[in-house]
């Protein structure tokens, strides 16, 4: 089944993908013959129960893992054909990640965390500072730039995570349960932010969630169950 109901030019194209993990002598089939397309500018939610392969699919789209079979094409690049080094460079250029547990460096201040992806660019120190300030302003955390993650609330940490994800102006923002560790109020603020990024900046977002409240903010939701996608929720 090919999931691209909008029919626009696909930024993300997943074709016939299988993903098998080997645990000892056992083969675990997480994804099988999966097809998915997402056009540029879409806010796509990927739902499904635990262990359905949502994060695995997100990792494949983000070039963090390789499919056992099939092809993953993002922004015109066949990810399964890139070497590790080129894949890393591709990620730096095209992908912004937002994680459930924020995944900030505890030893770095908020602004230093946001600056991390920019260290891989040729920007000068002053230019990096400008980009960091802009990203923090966009998530409403300019006043917390010098603070360390341990002094920030969960919602604030996730905002820093989002600022880090967008600071390089990536082609695609991948969010893995971005509200999964937050209360409803903080979660809503993060979802508002993601919606605004999609609506105002035209940012393409693929968000993994198991929360219907979160998926309702997306323009489109697809459901993953036992390695297969569907337009309908799992019964």
């Amino acid at each position: 089944m090919n999931e691209n109901p909008t029919g626009g030019a696909a930024l993300v194209r997943v074709e016939g993908v299988d993903k098998v993990f080997h645990r000892g002598s056992e083969d675990i089939h997480v994804l099988s013959d999966l097809h998915l397309e997402a056009p540029a500018g879409e806010f796509l939610a990927l739902m499904g129960p635990s262990g359905s392969g949502k994060t695995t699919l997100l990792n494949l789209i983000g070039g963090l893992d390789r499919p056992t079979k099939g092809t993953v094409t993002v922004a015109g690049e066949r990810l399964d054909q890139l070497s590790d080094r080129r894949l890393a460079a591709w990620r730096a250029r095209h992908i912004g990640f937002v994680f459930q547990l924020y995944n900030l460096m505890p030893v770095l201040s908020a602004e230093r965390n946001v600056e991390l992806p920019l260290l891989l660019t040729h920007l000068s120190h002053a230019e990096r500072r400008q980009h960091v300030a802009a990203a923090l302003a966009m998530v409403g955390l300019s006043h917390r730039a010098k603070h360390y993650p341990r002094t920030l609330s969960g919602g604030e940490q996730q905002r820093v995570g989002i600022a880090r994800g967008i600071v390089t102006d990536p082609t695609l923002l991948l969010c893995d349960e971005p509200t999964g560790d937050l209360d409803r109020k903080a979660g809503d603020e993060i979802l508002d932010l993601l919606q605004a990024l999609n609506r105002d900046q035209g940012k393409t977002i693929v968000m993994v969630t198991h929360d219907p409240h979160a998926s309702a903010r997306a323009a489109r939701t697809v459901y993953l169950n036992k390695g297969q996608l569907s337009q309908e929720p799992v019964k």
């Binding site: 990792n59 893992d65 460079a89 591709w90 460096m105 230093r112 891989l120």
Partner: protein, 389 residues
């Protein structure tokens, strides 16, 4: 440079652990500096020894004296430029712990033989004109606040004067410096004619006309072995057979009485640095294990495996180089005041060569301790690492 704050921040993550590791590295390098200085003190004379000088001593033991008449015979041996002699005086200045060497010498020959002792011409002339005159090294002069014109009483444990008195008075007429760093400036030298006449008058006939050892200046250093053989052959089957060897070998043999210094020092330092390798390696491995998830995030953001390896190696090198620099610096400071024994180890100093060796060791230690943790970080699969956040 832009990555330095990230590397530095990682070191500050566990301050106590980093500080203790750093402290152990500092202590190891202080030990390195001190042992290098001791080694320099004991065997450094070998490097300073003249390649064109031979030492001739009694074949059985250096405490046996040689006839003064040997000098003329040595001067006739082919390949010998000239010879001069010294004798152990064994004197004490005020207190036995104030040790420094004193020897009666023939001034003209002595100054010609040892150009590394720098004495102003006026002082050397004064020495030639003053029968009881003595010259002393800068180190000892500074230690006892002696100056030219002082009269110094030294009590000999071996030699008495004509009246039986063992306290000899010398007039300080010169203070010599060393031409090279490491030249021993602790001894005191006085005139042999004054010494020989006094001991003759004291009735110490057993030592009359006898001296401690000879130094021979040879015409061609390449012929040292052949000349040494000729010297020993000259005095074969005499009452005082000789053993002749290059000055360097003589100094080496002297130091070897304590043992194989180089081997002992190498063994101690080997054990110390191996322990540091384990301690620092463990710190680094723990550090990498603890932030597996963070390394996964860096990789997800786009950092390459090579960059991750560089970070870990830079971190371990920063730790060891910092520890090494502080340790070597402290060792330099501790040894900069010279011989802590005030005379027993006149060549005690931290050689610049060993300072560079220490710097090299600190970098090598960093690379070695960071190697396996770096490999561990490089092999992390991003997806697996992120699960461990």
């Amino acid at each position: 440079m832009k990555f330095l704050p990230l590397i530095w921040s990682n070191l500050k993550r566990k301050k106590l652990r980093t500080s203790l590791t750093l402290l152990s590295i500092v202590v190891a390098f202080i030990l390195f500096g001190l042992l290098s200085s001791i080694q320099q003190a004991l065997v450094g004379g070998v490097q300073l020894a003249g390649a064109d000088r031979l030492i001739v001593r009694d074949k059985v033991s250096i405490i046996n004296l040689l006839p003064e008449s040997y000098k003329a015979r040595m001067n006739r041996i082919p390949g010998v430029d000239f010879a001069t002699h010294q004798t152990w005086f064994g004197g004490i200045y005020q207190d036995p712990k104030n040790f420094f060497m004193q020897c009666p010498v023939v001034p003209e020959e002595f100054l010609k033989m040892f150009p590394e002792y720098l004495l102003p011409p006026a002082q050397s002339n004064a020495w030639l004109q003053t029968r009881t005159g003595a010259i002393v090294g800068r180190n000892t002069a500074a230690r006892f606040h002696w100056k030219i014109g002082d009269k110094i009483p030294i009590q000999s444990t071996i030699w008495a004067q004509a009246d039986g008195n063992r306290t000899w008075a010398f007039d300080i007429v010169g203070i010599f410096d060393g031409a090279k760093k490491g030249t021993d400036t602790t001894p005191l030298f006085f005139r042999y004619d004054y010494f020989d006449e006094a001991r003759h008058e004291s009735g110490q006939t057993w030592a009359e006309g006898k001296v401690g050892w000879y130094t021979i200046h040879i015409k061609d250093p390449a012929q040292a072995a052949a000349v040494a053989k000729r010297v020993d052959a000259e005095f074969e089957n005499s009452s005082s057979e000789t053993k002749t060897e290059p000055e360097g070998a003589f100094v080496q043999a002297w130091a070897s009485q304590i043992g194989n210094i180089v081997l002992i020092v190498a063994a101690i330092l080997g054990a110390v640095f191996f322990t540091i390798l384990l301690v620092t390696g463990n710190t680094m491995a723990q550090g990498v294990r603890e932030r597996t998830g963070e390394l996964g995030v860096l990789k997800a953001i786009g950092f390459t495996n090579a960059q991750i390896v560089s970070f870990v190696l830079a971190e371990s090198c920063l730790l060891t180089v910092l520890g090494g620099a502080v340790g070597l610096g402290l060792a330099w400071l501790l040894t900069s005041r010279g011989d802590p024994t005030h005379g027993l180890l006149p060549l005690f100093f931290f050689p610049t060569r060993d300072l560079w060796v220490g710097a090299g060791i600190s970098v090598a230690l960093g690379l070695a301790t960071g190697f396996f943790p770096a490999l561990q970080a490089m092999r992390l699969r991003v997806a697996d690492a992120l699960r461990r956040m």
